[in-house]
Amino acid sequence: MNQQKASLKQMIHQGGFLRNPVLVQVIGICPVAAAATSVINAIALSTVFSVSLILCEVVASLLLKKLPRWVRMGIYSIIGMAVVFPVMYVFEKYSLTVFSSLGIYLPLMVMNSLNCVHCEKYAVKNSVKLSFFDAIASLLGYCSILLAVGLIREVVGNGTLLGFDLGFDGIRGLLMPFGGLFIIGLLSAAHKAQIIRRHPERLHEIETKFTLDEADDKEATLSYAIKNRFKKSS
């Protein structure tokens, strides 16, 4: 039992904080940068995506291990669709404000790359329990960034908090995708500063790797590619 707890704690630290999906792995940026413009939006996206990712990882670990990867990738989207469709239907019928403010980003959660990457990197290679833990760890990291970005943009960009007027005009640009990317950049720098201060020996672990399967392409880190290109050009 203690081992299980330690494992979950380690996974949350590793997957949620140290290798945060947004700030370090650079996955699933679109909804965070473009759609997380308020706390309500961030909560709606987080809820939908949480159900979708947990379901995907559990199903992938349970049933999809023997299928070829390209077929599995399609199935992850279909599972995501099975979660998003009823939510969209309810929002469109009963909460048109949230539906309109999320725009087309709610249906696009189906295509979130975090689903594919985590199912392929983890769920199809591990047990259901570990896949579930991985989903929880990734979701804690992903949703915390969604909420933080949503909160900052609503307060600074719109001058409101949970819809209540805070009495000042916000910087409207922050509500646009570039505003979201800018905030993610600052959060990423704060995250890296924390790693440098608290875990300097693990700094190499937060080097961004951009391949789906690291074994496929060992030269896939951004820094390696850039160094290599620089060497060649000089």
């Binding site: 370090v24 650079v26 996955i27 699933g28 940026i29 679109c30 940068a33 473009a34 070829p68 990867r69 390209w70 077929v71 990738m73 399609g74 989207s77 669709m81 469709f85 969209m88 239907y89 469109e92 087309i104 249906p107 696009l108 189906v110 295509m111 979130n112 790359s113 594919c116 910087i171 409207r172 640009g173 646009m176 995708p177 570039f178 505003g179 979201g180 990317l181 800018f182 993610i184 950049g185 600052l186 990423s188 720098a189 890296k192 500063a193 440098i196 961004t208 951009f210 789906l212 399967d213 496929d216 896939a220 880190t221 951004l222 820094s223 590619a225 850039i226 160094k227 290109r229 620089f230």
Partner: protein, 197 residues
């Protein structure tokens, strides 16, 4: 002939002004990933253009059917998603039969099809009530815009990565995000949207 000019105008607009990667954040994850692998950029962009154009054309044709036209946005999305899945599985199966590709090609095919940019185009065409020519132009132009975005990110970041004046916590991924944000702000400026107003 009108449809041809609609298509060309929509494609130019999608590349220069609308750039969905910077202006809407669609497919930005894949654009950043491709920036680190410039040699694979054109094959990826080709696949994205293929999926976005084929899906957009079929979806737009379906949109003209009266039974589908009167449905709400949620049902439209379900139909568009179904079209993309059919296009994806048929293309995957045909690739396996005809090209006999390796696993990495099939993985790349999946990553290109399961992309927010590809799924966003039929939805945008539906919302903006585009003609068929405009739909094709937007889909093709968005693929080209993806290449433009990846090249801009790649070229800029190569220089930024060697700038020793950047403080340690900002080096690597943080400065890349800020650089992409600045590019995105520049493209937003082209559309004439007020940034601070």
């Amino acid at each position: 002939m009108q449809w041809f000019f609609d298509m060309v105008a929509a494609a130019i607009y999608a590349v220069i002004v609308q750039n969905l990667v910077f202006n809407g954040g669609y497919g930005i994850t894949e654009a950043v990933r491709m920036a680190s692998k410039p040699k694979k950029l054109f094959s990826t962009a080709g696949m994205i253009i293929y999926f976005s154009t084929v899906t957009a054309v079929i979806c737009r044709i379906l949109d003209f059917l009266p039974q589908i036209e009167k449905q709400n946005n949620t049902i439209h999305f379900l139909i568009f998603f179904g079209v993309l899945m059919i296009v994806y599985f048929v293309s995957g199966a045909l690739s396996l039969i005809i090209l006999r590709p390796n696993k990495r090609f099939m993985t790349k095919l999946s990553m290109c099809a399961m992309n927010t940019l590809v799924m966003a185009i039929p939805l945008i065409n539906h919302r903006s009530v585009s003609t068929l020519g405009e739909s094709i132009g937007t889909a093709f132009g968005s693929g080209v815009a993806f290449v433009v975005a990846s090249v801009l990110i790649s070229v800029g970041f190569t220089k930024i990565a060697h700038n020793k004046k950047i403080p340690e916590p900002f080096r690597g991924t943080p400065v890349m995000f800020i650089y992409v944000a600045l590019l995105s702000m520049a493209v937003t400026g082209i559309t004439g949207t007020g940034v601070f107003a």
